[in-house]
Symmetry: C2
Amino acid sequence: MGVVIPLKDRSDPSANLKPLLDLTDADMRQVNRIIVDRARSDVETVPELARHLIDSGGKRLRPMLAIASAKLCNYHGTDHLQTGAAIEFLHTATLLHDDVVDESDTRRGRKTARLIWGNQASVLVGDFLLGQAFLMLVESGSLQVLKILSQAASTIAEGEVMQLIAANNTATTEDDYLSIINAKTATLFSAATESGATLGERPSEERAALRSFGKNLGLAFQLVDDALDYSGDSSDLGKAVGDDFREGKITLPVILAFRRGEQTERDFWNRTIVERQINDGDLETAMQFMGKHHALEATFERARAYGAVAHDALAIFDDGPEKSAMLDVIAFCIERRH
Amino acid sequence: MGVVIPLKDRSDPSANLKPLLDLTDADMRQVNRIIVDRARSDVETVPELARHLIDSGGKRLRPMLAIASAKLCNYHGTDHLQTGAAIEFLHTATLLHDDVVDESDTRRGRKTARLIWGNQASVLVGDFLLGQAFLMLVESGSLQVLKILSQAASTIAEGEVMQLIAANNTATTEDDYLSIINAKTATLFSAATESGATLGERPSEERAALRSFGKNLGLAFQLVDDALDYSGDSSDLGKAVGDDFREGKITLPVILAFRRGEQTERDFWNRTIVERQINDGDLETAMQFMGKHHALEATFERARAYGAVAHDALAIFDDGPEKSAMLDVIAFCIERRH
């Protein structure tokens, strides 16, 4: 695509996350305190189950992006802390419900909550966290941020329903797939960055720029996630390579390999993804077909293209440590191996 | 208890609902329009599934109570309409998730959404409705109402988790049971009535009075619901008599029959409710034991006691059609047969 995303250190992708970690460190300590505090409940199972996922070593990328955006927009209040915690709760609630919907057994290298406490408690604790997220947002007092995040909650759910309908369906097009990842993933990234801009009470073009940055970063993030499922090192990824394959999930690597493949290959995809008849060696065959058609390279290439859009979105902001850290995150999302 | 709840017509309990229906009729038409409008989505399954439950003939008691409370508090704006719709969405989301958690097959005499569209879509459409509920509340602009209802969403989820933990456990006490129904049912009734008072910007004692009215009405409502499960006419109730029994749900009639019963009876309850070994004729035996120990009468008696508290809570308000309609609802909740 002719776009070059600057990299701090290609051999160590996490170096690209370090400026954001440093920039948000003091605020994230407070966000983490709020998260722990608001996961409390007199009903024992609630905090246990919530903390299982909250403490499982997620990067907290979304609250960090909200905080960095607020800083980029010269926000000097404290509402971004509650907002960041609420965004992480929204994300956690989504993951709890996702794992139930996808019948997933592992998440970030640990047993999923639904395996330990059951599907029922996972659904309900997700609901609890959603309620707590909105309560925190109410307390922080910005109706604009509340609007962005309640709309996001609906859109994410719509995206998950779209994904459910598309599952096991090889007729899913690349456009369908983009609509799905836009709704289920990019929406919360853009809600996070737009919330920061909203707290800073910036003019609408800056809010729009940060919304666009978040959306395109989120698309790149999910594209890479879906490519890593067929290429990552499962010890890094915290989930086994091939999870999407075994779940019959239609992601871009599958869509491209299916469309670029011959009839015998399409028969293979129909048997494995549609009919879910998976034999020993099928994952290796799937990866071989993807290699033959450069499906993973193409997926990463598209991720880089969205990364470039995210990069350009920030052009209207003056240079500085906030902008620089946010640009580095693009490289992190694209080059990460987990 | 020496408390007399006035009845319009004991032979026709729904007559006690009529004043509330009449009082809120014009507003509820608008609430229903908002509900239909906000259940829309470009993702086909979402409105289909949402409308299945929304159109299934629920009484919409909670939004009616919010509207009546707003009227009682001389509120003359229009925010109570969005608030009413949001409360119904919150309730609908809870029911969708409940049916998944309880593995229920029927609701209001129809197949549950989860049987038609699956557990996965039911969870996700519930999430969509929660997001839409908060979005409507944001648009109506009252941070106070938002706070009441986001807190309610968390508390309801906590109540459901408590119920999950108590399920199949005959050691559950009457106090445990009260905590559960207070959280899972009474919370939304009191949030509805308090929201109305909040919109009316009434002094804190009137808000507290309406909160208390809602809470005690909700407790009475749930107690009667749980008694009807062992005594109602299933064609009226929209669910089969004995559903709670078959699901191993611990409700007050079971708690009382267990505690008042002899060892052989307790063995029966342990076999059926704890071990879920239910044979033909066991439901009849359960109802016979309840009859022997007056467990249903005692449950209705407690419902009447909470009804009396709800009645007294409204004493500080001047007499008028709003107050009168709300007092009649107490009788409706207690005398209803479905």
